[in-house]
């Protein structure tokens, strides 16, 4: 009897489902077609660039979709050496390593204090930081240039943090990453339970120790998201280094790539340009493929807060 009932229930569910499917129509194929079109729109320009990176100069100026006769790997050597892509990439790695670390360290410290320690002026400091989210950076460009130039005249440390120095760029990146980092992390710290930290305080742990050994590990998911956000944001930065770094050997990758194409001339090395582009895209592709879940959630989590 019971089997009978469950059988009819299962059947009627099946019928209902088929009925629904019929009503919704055969969209399956069209759905995949639409998605496939956008997939191709994303992939083809990138693959086309990869293809062009092993072509000779003549092939690049010939038919766009022809295949290379021989694979010119030497394009990559020229991009790396003569177009200094290797140097620029190293500069980017150095700058971003220090600036993201610095951003996360002092950003999380400020966010924690602002989220958890009520004191006079707390709200004002928080709003000062968060208001930076709404300012267009272009208004600050001119004065910022002179601020950094003046930093260069400070005795002893000046030469290290003035114009054309990586440390100078690192400090600017950290400062401009504060609004979002503090906005996001203080919201995150507020959601964490207070009991564990208080217990540790009773046991005699200092405020600093509670932060580094208890609160920071508890905030790990938020820290990871915002670290990814800052790494990508600082790696892709173009506007700020453009005004702060004039000497070529200090340039970051985005400036190097943009320069090869804008410095138009008849002696332009086009195949090296495509190789350089490929060198800029490939590492991102690899890193993205490995960490795509964390990257997607890291970049979008800010918007959902």
């Amino acid at each position: 009897m019971t089997t009978m009932i469950s059988w009819t229930a299962a059947t009627s569910r099946k019928i209902a489902r088929a009925e629904r499917r019929r009503r919704l129509g055969p969209l399956g194929l069209l759905t995949h077609l639409a998605l496939l079109i956008w997939t191709l729109l994303v992939i083809i320009p990138i693959l086309w660039t990869f293809l062009a990176s092993v072509k000779s100069e003549d092939e690049i100026f010939g038919d766009a979709w022809s295949l290379p006769a021989t694979l010119r790997w030497d394009n990559f050597a020229r991009a790396w050496e003569q177009a200094h892509i290797g140097q620029y990439m190293l500069n980017s790695v150095i700058v971003v390593a220090f600036s993201t670390f610095g951003t996360m360290l002092i950003g999380s410290m400020a966010a924690y204090v602002l989220a958890r320690y009520p004191f006079r002026g707390n709200r004002a400091v928080y709003l000062l930081f968060v208001s930076g989210l709404a300012f267009p950076v272009y208004l600050a460009l001119t004065p910022l240039f002179f601020v950094v130039q003046n930093m260069g005249t400070i005795p002893v440390i000046g030469p290290f943090i003035g114009l054309n120095t990586h440390a100078g760029v690192v400090l600017v990146y950290i400062a401009y990453s504060m609004p979002f980092t503090i906005f996001f992390l203080s919201a995150f710290f507020r959601t964490l339970p207070t009991a564990v930290g208080e217990a540790a305080m009773v046991d005699g742990a200092s405020h600093t120790r509670v932060f580094f050994q208890i609160m920071l590990p508890m905030a790990k998911p938020g820290i990871i998201s915002i670290t990814i956000f800052n790494i990508l944001g600082q790696w892709n930065q173009y506007q700020l280094p453009l005004i702060l770094l004039q000497e070529r050997d200090k340039w970051v990758l985005t400036m190097g790539i943009a320069d090869i194409s804008t410095a138009a001339g008849y002696d332009q090395d086009w195949s090296a340009l495509f190789a350089a582009l490929t060198l800029a895209i490939l590492p991102m592709l690899v890193v993205y493929t490995v960490f795509q879940r964390q990257i997607q959630s890291g970049l979008t989590s800010g918007a959902l807060k």
Binding site: R20, R23, L24, G25, L27, H32, A34, L35, W38, T39, I43, P45, I46, A52, D63, A64, W65, I106, M109, A110, V113, V125, F129, F135, P136, V137, Y138, L139, A140, L141, T142, P143, V147, L171, V172, A175, Y176, M178, T208, F211, W235, N236, Y238, Q239, L253, I257, A258, S261, L277, A280, I281, M284, Y288, Q292, I295, Q296, L299, T300, A303, L304
Partner: protein, 303 residues
């Protein structure tokens, strides 16, 4: 007790000192100075600035190039969010509710999401150079090659003043869509599945499923997307500066506020005038932020 208060105060000060000092020196001070510089005639790196009141603002009022830039930003402000959100909503809907039963995701939805999102991780400067090549005006261009093979005339994607702006917009949409597909998917995932089931049992088709269920429940996320894309449209710089001819050309047909500020400040060294343009841009951005906050206070649907 007093000792504890003292320790707490010391802790707060020591944790806030570095971020506050850095932020005041590199962010707040420059913004504050910019408002003053905007009222000077400062030109050239060594010259001393002289106070001239609102003269720069009077001048920029008659600066046709700047207003051209403003109209381009305004056009982007309307078109970029509109196009990106429509495409992203469409794909997010297909990926999450487009399955055979109408409530499930379709096969391979994860793969599509991964691919769609990828342009987002590339630097705008890199994307700009990439599309500069894609848009080449002759048979060696990725797009013009096939067009010419079909016997059609090549399109001057970046050299035709009527087309260049649309080429910029297309690249911005290309890069942004994936991010919003993922954002909307996350929003859709938090909507209980029985909502869709119930609506279907009541006879809703795909279209009404989208407009009656998906869109109202996603409205919050759509508003966030609108604000983000609006800021992106007002802030656009690298794509125009790197990709287009003559940094915002041809004939200023793609120029934007940020490009004019940068050009005036760091190519012509008109620091006073560039700051005045920056002040105008500042008020446009803040105005947009306030306006969108006001408009977005709408009845929220709880579920």
């Amino acid at each position: 007790m007093l000792f504890h208060r003292y320790r707490r105060g010391l802790f707060i000060t020591s944790f806030l000192a570095a971020p506050v000092i850095l932020y005041l020196v590199y962010v707040i001070a420059p913004y504050a100075q910019a408002f003053y510089i905007a009222m000077t005639d400062w030109r050239g790196v060594t010259a001393t600035p002289r106070f001239i009141g609102l003269e720069n603002f009077v001048r920029l009022f008659h600066d046709s190039v700047f207003w051209k830039a403003v109209t381009h930003n305004a056009a982007l402000l309307v078109l970029l969010p509109l196009i990106t959100i429509v495409i992203a909503l469409f794909f997010a809907f297909l990926l999450n509710v487009g399955g055979p039963q109408g409530v499930t995701g379709i096969r391979g939805s994860k793969f599509y999401r991964v691919v769609f999102f990828f342009p987002q991780v590339l630097a705008v400067a890199v994307v700009a150079v990439l599309f500069q090549q894609v848009y080449r005006p002759d048979a060696s261009g990725m797009l013009n090659g096939p067009l010419m093979a079909l016997g059609l005339n090549p399109v001057g994607f970046l050299s035709d003043t009527d087309v260049a702006f649309w080429s910029v917009l297309a690249v911005m949409v290309w890069q942004a869509v994936g991010f919003y597909v993922v954002l909307f998917s996350a929003g859709l995932a938090s909507i209980p599945k029985d909502m869709f089931e119930a609506a279907q049992i009541d006879g809703a088709g795909r279209v009404s499923l989208f407009f009656r269920i998906t869109l109202p429940l996603l409205w919050d996320t759509v508003q966030v997307a609108w604000v983000y894309l609006g800021i992106l449209a007002l802030d656009v710089f690298a794509i125009v500066w790197v990709m287009t001819l003559q940094h915002g050309g041809p004939d200023r047909s793609t120029t934007v506020m940020a490009a004019e500020i940068y050009r005036n400040a760091f190519e012509h060294f008109r620091f006073g005038y560039a700051s005045a343009l920056g002040v105008v841009m500042f008020f446009f951005t803040v105005g947009f932020a306030i306006l969108s906050l006001r408009l977005s206070r709408r009845e929220r649907i709880e579920y």
